[in-house]
Symmetry: C2
Subunit: 240 residues, 2 copies
Amino acid sequence: MLSKNQHKLITSLQQKKYRNQHQLFVVEGVKVVNEFLTSKFKLEKIFCTEDYYSSIEEYEPQLISENELSKISNLATPNKVLGLFKIPKPTDLVDKGLVLVLDTVNDPGNLGTIIRLCDWFGVSQLVCSKTTVDCYNTKVVQATMGSLTRLPIVYTELQTYLKKTKLPIYGATMFGKKIKETSKKEDAILVMGNESNGISNEIEKLVAYQITIPRYNKDSSVESLNVATATAILLNEFRN
Amino acid sequence: MLSKNQHKLITSLQQKKYRNQHQLFVVEGVKVVNEFLTSKFKLEKIFCTEDYYSSIEEYEPQLISENELSKISNLATPNKVLGLFKIPKPTDLVDKGLVLVLDTVNDPGNLGTIIRLCDWFGVSQLVCSKTTVDCYNTKVVQATMGSLTRLPIVYTELQTYLKKTKLPIYGATMFGKKIKETSKKEDAILVMGNESNGISNEIEKLVAYQITIPRYNKDSSVESLNVATATAILLNEFRN
């Protein structure tokens, strides 16, 4: 059974305001919940349907019906289990390894894909502008497929951060040097910009090396690559 | 004004069955509709709200209210104009250039992103298994941002096609040769597989060169890259 208050709390966590107020976020589905249960994230409370109870008995789940789950779930196909986890304390900024910086990435699907890419390519830290979509947004959490449990993420004021860092700063722009022809440091910052507007003017001023993925098809009028696919290509280049 | 029959026709086109029956598909929004109007695609009928009428008067649009548009629109934020275009006749298979082959890619967003990537990287043709999501699916059309107007796409029986082709066949798998260490032909076929299962067994047998994007982060348990981001990385590699 789900109480009225629990229902209210869980659905409120779809909004950033209430996630911040309660310092909680929602994780759903067998696979992704398992990744969080075995991570450093702290579980607050877990709900599951009867057929899944024995699999996670040690976490003292609260039994709910499939109907109750479907009412609190954000998934098109609710999947047996929903956990509330605590938002961790912000980690410190580090000045080593390959750091990815996001300047106002808005789309939750894009951020989720990018977090998964950071995990794959061993990015040491993801630094997001405060205008970037919240990484504890439910869509982001589900899209990361558990990579969120492994990647240090910091939201900060980018200008201050980029002015202070000792790492060389690369930024993806439309008219930079071709990525293949650019020498790339192993310890570096790569800045990716907003879906429609790219890197903002104030941040672009702090970029030392503008880089570009050349368009092979000169006849095409496609304006740019999607930010997640561009990030995939550039991280792969930095890792070689 | 929108007639009852028009309303019924347009909403029916969300289903592949009715798209095939009527040989029509839906395009929405100012930017994407414009790409189709100036392409080789044939317009069947265009609907718009009053404030957009003068911009496309030459196409003899039918005026509809914003309320009517919101009822037939698939967008979260309907945007002034909706066009019905004719599905073109299938193009012939070609045996040159860089050909991308999709084996059962299911997600419309992934296919849309991949079509945009093909356009960017000048892929000569996209060949899809009949089990791959329909490229005239509304979500695919919108995600391609107009790239669909420039890319030849063929749905065919992959085994027959791959047995016949003279091009070298590369396929993305988990345990292939590292992509950076693989010599890549300019005229070639690259096969990408399903989101969960990768390339199917029957098709893998026809792949001459299995290639892999190595995972840099050995501590990570992330299983694979998303098919669209992996396609981005591999097309970029083939183009260099």
